[in-house]
Amino acid sequence: MNPIIEVKNVSKAFGGLQVINNCSIEVAKGSITGMIGPNGAGKSTLFNIIAGTLPEDSGQILMDGEDITHDTPDQLFHKGLLRTFQIAHEFSHMTALENLMMVPPDQEGENLFSTWLKPSLVREQDAEVRRKALEVLDFINLSHVKNELAGNLSGGQKKLLELGRTMMTDARVVLLDEVAAGVNRTLLGDLVSNIERLNRELGYTFLVIEHDMDMIARLCDPVIVLAQGQVMMQGTIEQVRNNPEVVEAYFGNAL
């Protein structure tokens, strides 16, 4: 299988602390790859480096063979790399619907001059965007709160909205950072089905950071274990669970 994301020998240090240490990973196209590892292993840091919010010290990142090492988040978005945040980053003073409608790239109406010179084209396009947004809201079961300000949504609904945004445009890779943390476990079940559906029906590739083993077990293959900024191992969830090194560093006696 050919990889869609390749991280090659990336390193990153904060002050004297080497957080990512010559780390290389590959994410296969069409897979749901899990990433686990002890707290402070550098998972979020690696995520931020891939998504362009943090500069790496050295190394290279490829997406479909193209070098994206120095791209900014908005450039990566346009190339089909979408992400969610560990803490939901909704637009709190906008409605759920608007939260989704602002996502599609290259809207004619985002050009100041087009809003003045081509109003009808802008209106047409916007109607199309709205139709799509309503569809997505339906898909993620948020239709009943579409006109609610996103700031007033509950934690889980915000996370669903985060996920919904990734569906507003054609994504190729979606990075999910601890979608489960702080989310009610019953609701989490719905989230997981959504992710599976997206993967199956729309062919999205997922890279998922998670500490909830039930979720990892249900979704991910393969699972990458990160420890001290390096890949400790990679394999199926069973292989991971049976690796004594991983058990010692990550699971403890919690298994």
Binding site: T53, D74, L97, E98, E110, W116, P119, T169
Partner: protein, 432 residues
Amino acid sequence: MLANILNKFPENFPLRELVVAGLVFLAVLLVLISQGSAYGVRMLVEASCYAIIALGLTIQWGYGGQFNAGVMGFVALGGFCAMLFSVPVNDAFWSTDLPGELGRAFVWLIAGVLLVVAVSQLHRFGLSKRLRTVLTIIVALITWMVVKSVFAPVTSAIENQAGFIGGLGLPAWIGWLVGGLLAGLVGYFIGHICLGLRSDYLAIATLGIAEIIKAFLKNEDWLTRGTATVSPLPWPTPGPAELGFVLSRSIYLAVTAVMIVAIFFLLQRAYHAPWGRMIRAIRDNEIAAQAMGKDVNKRRLEVFVFGCVLIGIGGGALTTFNGIFDAQGYLPLNHTFLVLVMVILGGPGNNLGTILGALLVYIIWVMSEPLALYVMHLYADVAGSLFGWEAPANLSSRALQARVFVIGLLITLVLRYAPKGLMPEKLTHEKG
């Protein structure tokens, strides 16, 4: 009771707008009656110029959440261009060989800039970065001194022989447009540096740049006559000497009113289009907006520059109307804080609110002067007759200081009790 009555109106009935507009209309009427039509129209023209400036600020502060504390500087740039383009050609300058020498000095300047830029790129040819930085600084300092010494004789010759370089003798409105562009250009540089930092820094930087612009316009006498002021400035419309005060001012008012309507129309369109949605999203959560593919820095810069352009245009129209270009006359109180009050009171982000706020605040501002004097004298008379209290000699001067106080009080009170202004930003949320 009142709430009941209010609730009877349909949800989107513009009650608030009507009430505020009525209030403003009443104030305008009052001024027209009490002050006479010539003066009343004059005040309306000035208020309309301020409204254009306030619209610029509402874009920055209301739409984009950017606090520009240096409105004055951009107004002054607009005024400068209005002056430069509209004032008649100065033959005392153009008929000598000074233009040529000035041109030569500018060639030096350009060459100097190119040299410094070239040196700053030396690291591409294998120079170490530190050495390059040191070299650039040294070369920049030397170039600066050289260019300065090239300019000095030319500019002082201009000052001595011709006064100043004079204008271009073109219609004033060209100056307004160019003034807008120039203000936008300066805004671009400031924004480029400061928009990425926390918002207080932008305030401090703009406060500084405004003072610098003023210092430049005030001290470069060869360009602006400095403190000697340039007047009269020709209007794009017939002046009062030809048509009398009321008529000529009414025509001018028609021009500014058309400008406001056009700007209002463009702003409404943009704000209710996806552009406005995107700007609100960026204001709401920058990181998320960037992750959703919006070029946050570019957009913030766009908003800031757009605002500066309007401020420059408004400044040009205001200066032309006043008929005098006086660099010293651009004061933070009148040209920054007053505009700020207009926007805050009217409702940041609400275009109509901003325009009405500008009218209302300007009327209050102008009328506060005779009012303060009247109150103070009344007080002095009463106190004098009751307690034999003797009014201090500088009573008028002190009474007028009260205006400064009142503007300050207005800012804080509005922020405290109606932080969103008389007409809060109207978020026409998309309904599904």
